[in-house]
């Protein structure tokens, strides 16, 4: 039997599952859309990936990351639940040797991670605004009726990008419409949008950070060649897009899970069968004090397996 290690990254827009071996080689990987239904997508993803993994591979560790990491972790019996910043940093530092800066733009958040000598020394995430993340690009591609996959190629064709106000997603959209009505070409507008998003990213998330090469660019938005070019133009450095740029979080957490199991010897992974259970989340407002905490309960086959959300901790049930 060969040993495999499972990493799951359940984000706002996409859910990635990945199985690696001991040498960080990817045995199977899967990219799905979360579509606001993390439970269903994890179940489906588990079913699908089990058929993609070679038959002689046995899962020896599992880890989860992303905004639904706790939910996913409980469902599959993860050995470790890690935040996406650490997961990305670990993943990328394996694939881009000596990386000093990671630019990551996902569905609803964007982050910058600064590494020196292989460890994270600083990071930042967008706080109060999601302008310039994948969701916005997604929405614009739908509005312009251009498949998101073609967005980047179109941007590269532009000779004369227009200037778009990128600070706020709503104003960016009205500015784009304004430029369209003036008759600018689609290529120039899309390239201008890429420039605006990069400007916004560097002014907000990247503010005050020392961006040194090698620079890696990842997350779903890295698939957009226009964004890569816009970053290179404004940073004056080559920007590397790692091979597994879209699943780096899952990859990172698979590596972390492997290390965790090496320490604790045995995995808590429940197996791919989680697809057969029924899961439900229900919440109630605790009336014991004026805090009125929203307590979330998670059921597996009608039985509470986890509960969280109360400030005082009286309702907490930790998944074993």
């Amino acid at each position: 039997m060969k040993k495999g290690y499972l990493g799951i990254d359940v984000g706002s827009v996409s859910t990635n599952l990945i199985v690696i071996d001991e040498n960080d080689e990817v045995l199977a990987s899967l990219y799905l859309r979360t579509q606001g239904q993390p439970i269903r997508v994890i179940q489906e993803g588990m079913k699908e990936i089990s058929s993609l993994v070679p038959a002689d591979v046995e899962i020896h560790a599992a880890g989860t990351t992303g905004s639904a990491r706790y939910l996913g972790g409980i469902m599959v019996g993860a050995d470790i639940i890690k935040n996406e910043i650490t997961a990305h940093a670990i993943g990328t530092s394996r694939f881009v040797p000596g990386v000093q800066t990671i630019l990551e733009i996902g569905g609803q958040d964007s982050k910058i991670i600064i590494l020196r000598d292989g460890i994270v020394t600083d990071f930042a995430m967008n706080t109060v605004c999601a302008a310039g993340t994948g969701s916005f690009l997604d929405q614009q591609s739908a509005r312009l009726c251009i498949p998101i996959e073609d967005f980047g190629e179109l941007a590269l064709k532009s000779k004369n990008p227009v200037r778009i106000a990128g600070r706020c997603a709503v104003f960016a959209e009205s500015d784009m419409i304004h430029k369209q009505q003036l008759g600018h070409s689609m290529e120039d507008i899309i390239a201008g949008l890429c420039d605006a998003l990069v400007r916004n990213y560097l002014n907000n998330v990247g503010k005050g950070k020392e961006i040194l090469p090698p620079i890696a660019f990842q997350g779903g938005v890295a698939a957009n060649a226009g964004m890569k070019k816009a970053f290179e133009k404004s940073l004056n450095h080559e920007v590397i897009i790692p091979k597994n740029f879209a699943v780096m979080g899952a990859l990172g957490v698979a590596i972390i899970a492997r290390e965790a199991v090496q320490k604790k010897k045995e995995t808590t992974f429940k197996g791919f069968e989680v697809t057969d259970f029924s899961y439900k989340t229900r919440s109630f407002e605790c009336q014991s004090c004026p805090n009125r905490c929203e307590v979330v309960q998670f059921f597996q086959n009608g039985e509470v397996i986890a509960r969280w959300g109360s400030r005082c901790g009286k309702w907490d049930v930790q998944a074993s």
Binding site: I85, T86, I119, V120, M125, T127, V128
Partner: protein
Amino acid sequence: MKITFPHMGYSYIAFKMLLNELGYEVVVPPEPSKRTIDLGVRYAPEFACIPFKVLLGTYLETIEMGAEVAITSGGMGPCRAGYYGIMHQRILNELGYDFHLHIFEPPQVNYLDFIKKLKAVKPRGVSWRTYIQLIKKGYGKLEAIDEMEYLMYRIMPFEINRGDTAKAFYKVLEILDEAQTTEEIEDARWECRKIIAKVPQDRSRVPLKIGIIGEIYVVLEPAVNFYIQRTLGEMGVYTDRSIWLTSYTQKNVLVEGKVGEKDIHDMAHPYLNELIGGHGLNSIGEIVIYAEDGYDGVIQLAPFSCIPEIMAKGIVPRVSREEGIPVMTIFIDEQTAAAGVITRLEAFLDLLKRKREQKAIKEKRLA
């Protein structure tokens, strides 16, 4: 007359006692909750910061409970919080409430006004002597409360059963709440110290040490800062915060001999030599102090759109680099979600842990 005051951490216990003893009927403000913020957001200007919104929400809640007067503080220097009392008064009047805000400006601004307001709160039958004694006693209780909270965060990272220290702290608050005379408060203080010290602890742990700095209100009010110190404590982190209502704890916390506001400002001087309002200058000085005290990292808490803290944040990267201490800033407003804060805290702790491990490896190699 039914009287109330803003909610700020656990200070309500002392204010309640003082006002009760002066013969007022006290409306104890509820801990800020989702409802408080909703109420505040509905009637506050959108660009006001979170302390403004929470306070407005608190006044509206206490009005429902029958309060007629609130005692609050003003401010000076270039931070808009100085105008908040007046703004609150106007908004509440416009909403049709007959509610009076009694705003104490710092005595440095207008000494006579301060005395006049003190006099207005003093009931006729109470002599100035008794009045001042009662205020002193109230301050003593406030000190005791601060001390217990301080002890809680010191012990939390060592607790064997998660939640024990918090439970002990709530018990201790009840005991302090019941103590009335100066002697009782002093006795209760001794008893409380013992209760907190009795929490089963594992002293072999070497927790990460984090300093909490930033704007006073979001630092002091756990209900607004997502119980950050408790959350970190239960994740096994030793935290220390730079601001307390009483100065009792400062003596123990800061670098030896560095106790006052001026010392904090002196520490900031290589980076910033100017008052920038609010606690901006303090924030810079405190990062330097925590770095010298060997802390692993610093978390800066600030209300979203707080100008003093935004200015401080602009200087933070250089301070952080030159003092060799990682700093993370968390901006708080009604949109801030707990999930995002937790993710950032987890990542920050990972960063600090790795940094510490790497330092240990380096030291080993040199030895």
